[in-house]
């Protein structure tokens, strides 16, 4: 062979040359083997790092459905116009060359361009070209053409060149048509569709659903160095926040091959986004609608809350808070006016008053007081005592709206006699009442929503000798407690749970809002949330029946304070409450109506609370009546209900029909 022939040469000097050459070539081969075979992975990695950008693609957010599969939150296609900068490179170059060859331009620069001049010029040219296109495209579609901000553009160019530049978002169908007609001629411009969160019922149940906002990507994020992110939507409140991870799903990844300047060259999909899970709620959209309409019946700015529970399992059929706001407006920049409106310091539309507002329960609490002294066996409910129309405690006189007269338990309850309940409450002593209140888990978060979205309110502990402010607990405080004033504040959801426990024979439920997480694609239930009993009151059935009968009388009998909640055929049982609270300018009223129905086989608990109402019976009871009417309609099948969609658990509202 050629090589070995030379190595075996007689000629010593040429042999040395041959050895030298061979040695050199072997070194080269060794080096090549090292780089191309041995250390190949390392260089492939380097190549990837410099030439590939990982792009996170948000997945479609899961839907939120009511108990019958009605949509509460969904995704809608949104039309956007994007500009692909890599398609403009030849224009950039042309424009650049045009400017550079311009004699006057050169003369200005003294005939010679420094490196810095050149890079500044090319940045200027890019901005010019892009802002012209943005202006042209937007002038066809919008009445007022858009002006591209130089800083925004340079940020996009420097940080996410591989992604298209968003030009227009949220195009209406008319605008889409306009664009199709004339806008497509511009280079690099494309119309695209993005899914976006939509709440079809606008403000309905906004306090439960919450809202989403576009994610703000922090540059300090560690990941940012390796991937570009298309901003996702993040749940900011309510269920959207609580179940953000589940609703969001798994983002997909695309890899974009970029050239040495960072322009997109080719795209490749690594993984498709997996849509988020759907959230099935216990809510009934019709009940919710009625509850919200009822709250608004005294004006859009009525401050109040309404809760409807299924007393048999603690399901929340409706939870309304007023005033409300439209969660759709949070998505793409909220106006200052709207922002000021939803942050109104008095109306506090963002506050979920059902779980996050704690109020003095007023006479509604007489349910607990009554049950406490009945359980203490201190009173014959049939025995009448005389009430003078006030209660004299030492030097303090406590007003009583019930007229002077003789009262037994039922009459005292339905007329809401302060005298009667203070008299027996004092006899039983504060500990009995507090202990009874604790059995209802008053003053504790119920767990209806996430701990952040609920407050505990306040209820004293057994054996407590001091008040919140540190002063001693006196008889006057006990008297106040008996009529639901003073040392306690409750949230409407707590009152609802309490009322439901009375109705269902003593079971204190953890209110349930979410029944299941569903995988829509696979038609499976990923996770179920069973209803939970937190406590059993363990009170005698006889005493419960006495209270229930008194509640029925409050609505059904003439002269009951809850008369206005009367619904024929529904046998509503209720208790009104009007608590006096001290506010900056004098006194204000917190009015309540706590109720359940039907008397003989309770299924629903409805609690309505209105701030600054006139009275529980006058303001809240009629609202409860509207809710009961709707419930009645649903039970008789006259309310519109779609049943063809998935119902995760058999609905108690349907069960009756079957």
């Amino acid at each position: 062979m050629l090589v070995f022939d030379q190595l075996r040469k007689e000629d010593r000097k040429l042999r040395w040359i041959a050895v030298g050459v061979l040695f050199g070539l072997l070194i080269l081969l060794g080096g090549l083997w090292q780089v191309q075979v041995f250390a190949r992975k390392e260089y492939e990695q380097d190549l990837k790092v410099q030439a590939f950008r990982k792009v996170r693609v948000p997945s479609a957010r899961g839907k939120i459905l009511d108990r019958n599969g009605e949509l509460l939150a969904e995704n809608q296609p949104r039309f956007v116009v994007n500009l692909y900068l890599e398609d403009l490179r030849s224009i950039f170059r042309q424009q650049y060359n045009h400017t550079v060859t311009n004699a006057t331009f050169l003369a200005e620069k003294g005939g010679k361009l420094t490196r810095a001049d050149r890079s500044r010029l090319s940045a200027d040219v890019r901005y010019q070209v892009v802002s012209n296109i943005v202006w042209q495209v937007s002038s066809m579609i919008l009445p007022q053409p858009l002006v591209l901000q130089a800083r925004a553009f340079s940020r996009h160019y420097n940080e996410s060149l591989a992604l298209p530049l968003p030009v227009l978002a949220n195009l209406t169908p008319e605008q889409v048509a306009l664009f199709m007609e004339r806008g497509g001629e511009n280079p690099g411009v494309q119309l695209e569709v993005q899914p976006v969160r939509h709440y079809p019922n606008e403000s309905l149940a906004v306090h439960l659903l919450g809202y989403v906002q576009r994610e703000i990507i922090h540059e300090t994020d560690e990941e940012i160095a390796f991937e570009d992110k298309i901003p996702d939507l993040v749940g900011k409140a309510g269920l959207e926040a609580m179940f953000d991870a589940e609703l969001r799903g798994t983002p997909g990844y695309r890899s974009i091959l970029v050239n040495n300047l960072g322009y997109r060259h080719k795209e490749e999909i690594w993984s498709d986004p997996e849509p988020g899970l759907n959230l099935a709620l216990t809510l009934d959209i019709n009940v919710q609608k009625t509850a919200e309409a009822a709250l608004r019946s005294t004006g859009a700015n009525t401050r109040g809350a309404a809760v409807v529970l299924d007393v048999r399992n603690g399901d929340i059929l409706a939870m309304a808070s007023s005033p409300t706001f439209d969660p759709n407006q949070f998505l793409y920049g909220i106006s200052h006016e709207a922002w000021a409106e939803i942050n109104d310091p008095k109306l506090k539309p963002q506050l979920n008053r059902a779980t996050h507002g704690a109020y003095a329960p007023g006479s509604v609490f007489k349910i607990v007081t009554g049950l406490a002294f009945l359980e203490a066996d201190l009173v014959d409910p049939m025995q009448e005592i005389f009430a003078p129309g006030y209660y004299q405690l030492g030097r303090r006189r406590i007003d009583d709206l019930a007229p002077p007269g003789n009262y037994n338990f039922k009459n005292a309850f339905k007329k809401s006699s302060n005298f009667y309940f203070i008299e027996y409450g004092l006899r039983a002593g504060p500990q009995k009442i507090i202990e009874m209140g604790n059995r209802f888990h008053l003053g504790e978060k119920t767990g209806a929503l996430s701990p952040r979205q609920e407050q505990a309110g306040y209820f004293p502990a057994v054996g407590q000798k001091y008040k919140k402010d540190g002063s001693r607990w006196l008889d006057g405080d006990t008297a106040n407690l008996c009529i639901g004033q003073g040392e306690l504040t409750l949230t409407p959801i707590q009152v609802a749970v309490m009322t439901a426990a009375i109705a269902n024979g003593g079971k204190v439920f953890k209110p349930r809002l979410v029944t299941a997480l569903l995988d829509e694609g696979q038609q499976t239930t990923v996770k179920k949330f069973p209803s939970e009993v937190v406590n059993d009151l363990q009170v005698s059935k006889a005493n419960l029946d006495i209270v229930r009968a008194a509640m029925l009388a409050d609505v059904e009998e003439k002269g009951g304070t809850g008369e206005k909640a009367y619904v024929p055929g529904m046998n509503v049982c209720g208790k009104t409450g009007t608590a006096q609270v001290r506010v900056a300018k004098g006194m204000d009223h917190i009015t309540w109506f706590a109720s359940f129905a039907p008397f003989e086989a309770p299924r629903y608990a409805v609690v309505v609370m209105i701030e600054s109402g006139s009275s529980g019976g006058g303001t809240c009871a009629p609202m409860a009546r509207e809710i009961y009417k709707t419930l009645q309609k649903i039970e008789s099948g006259t309310a519109p209900l779609k049943r063809d969609q998935i119902a995760v658990l058999p609905s108690p509202l349907q069960r009756r029909e079957n």
Partner: protein
């Protein structure tokens, strides 16, 4: 008998070498096309290279027509013409990227340093083909060194350190084969070696004030090659940051060439599929000339690299064979000189693609784009073939 022998020595060329060369030229055209068309569809650099090949082959055939001992009488003239051309570069040269290496001749720019390599080769071979006894005279050795040193200094001034340095291995190999006493050569090599080490130590480690003035870019290339941190240890953070950026910029070519070669893997990404080149990571200005090997290695992988190396091996070893068959000392020295010249180019160029060697502007014979380089390589091949053809022409 007589007839056949005449016919024999006039018709026989070294076919193995020619086959290898044709394959190399084919590869050259294919990959210059790949390297240049990725960025510019209308590029016709490969066509130009093809024309250079044809012109070069013509020149090589021309060289072969006249027996080498006839034209070698003009070696001195050729040498001095080259020197004049180098001086011309100095006076009227065209400057590109801070280096004056080209002379413009109408539509054609040529690079005298390429031709100077051949000039020195012929001159030395001619000069040292005298009887061996005379070579013991140190004056002859000194004069040979001077013959190398003159173009060396001129080329160094362009500046083109790579081309200048190539003169030494070529000269040394010719002297070695000619029979210059080894002790002279060792002394010289040793002396130069010590000098180089001192120079490197100075450049790499000495404080700035003590450093020998080198061209900035040469200093950076050496720093990059030896993986030295550019950032001054006691510098301000901004100065260090600036130095780091400079380091990234300066080591960019080498780094990208390495990524190209390495990511080619065993079998490569396929012809015209190399992303390093098409996406512009491998700088466009050098992809088709100094770094053409990176393009080949990326697209054809280790297999492709090995094929290229094997083709050069065939050329080099047939060259050594030709040296062995040469009919006289002149032919032998010419052949050995050409082998040394080609080998230096191949080793330095491929070596710099895989960071075995610092980056220099040494082209890869026949594969790199460039008229002067192709022309000189093919003339060198012509010389080899000439020595082979006239090996028995008494």
């Amino acid at each position: 008998m007589f007839n056949t022998s005449i016919k024999e020595h006039h018709s026989r060329v070294e076919w193995q070498m020619i086959a290898a060369l044709l394959l190399l030229m084919l590869i050259g055209v294919a990959f210059i096309y790949s390297a240049s068309s990725a960025n510019d569809a209308k590029s016709h650099l490969h066509i130009r290279q093809l024309i250079f090949y044809i012109v070069g082959i013509g020149a090589a055939v021309g060289v072969c027509l006249v027996p080498y001992h006839s034209w070698s009488r003009f070696a001195t003239v050729i040498y001095w013409l080259c020197i004049v051309a180098l001086i011309m570069v100095f006076l009227f040269g065209v400057e590109r990227l801070g280096a004056k290496r080209w002379i413009k001749l109408g539509f054609f720019q040529f690079q005298p340093s390429e031709f100077a390599k051949l000039g020195v080769l012929c001159m030395l071979a001619n000069y040292l083909s005298r009887p061996v006894d005379e070579l013991r005279n140190p004056a002859i050795f000194m004069k040979s060194l001077a013959l190398i040193a003159l173009p060396f200094v001129l080329i160094l001034k362009e500046p083109d350190l790579g081309s200048a340095l190539v003169l030494f291995p070529v000269g040394l190999v010719i002297m070695f084969v000619a029979g210059v006493p080894l002790r002279y050569l060792w002394k010289f090599v040793g002396g130069v070696g010590i000098l180089v080490v001192l120079l490197l130590v100075d450049i790499l480690f000495a404080p700035p004030k003590w450093q020998i003035k080198l061209e900035e870019y040469q200093r950076y290339r050496l720093l990059v090659y030896f993986g030295k941190d550019f950032a001054p240890k006691d510098g301000t953070p901004e100065a260090r940051e600036r130095a780091r950026k400079l380091q990234r910029d300066k080591s960019y070519n080498v780094q990208q060439a390495l990524i190209s070669v390495g990511s080619g893997g065993l079998t490569g990404k396929g012809w015209r599929q190399g992303t390093q080149n098409s996406l512009g990571y491998l700088p466009r200005a050098v992809a088709h000339n100094d770094f053409i090997f990176s393009v080949i290695a990326e697209e054809k992988g280790f297999m492709g690299s090995v094929i290229v190396v094997i083709l050069y091996t065939v050329v080099l070893f047939t060259g050594i064979k030709i040296a062995g068959h040469a009919r006289d000392r002149l032919g032998r020295l010419l052949a050995v000189g050409v082998v040394a010249l080609l080998f230096s180019h191949v080793f330095i160029n491929i070596g710099m693609n895989i960071r075995l060697m610092p980056v220099t502007g040494i082209p890869l014979p026949l594969l790199s784009y460039g008229g002067s380089s192709v022309l000189c390589s093919l003339i060198a091949i012509g010389i080899l073939q000439n020595v082979y053809i006239y090996r028995r022409s008494y």
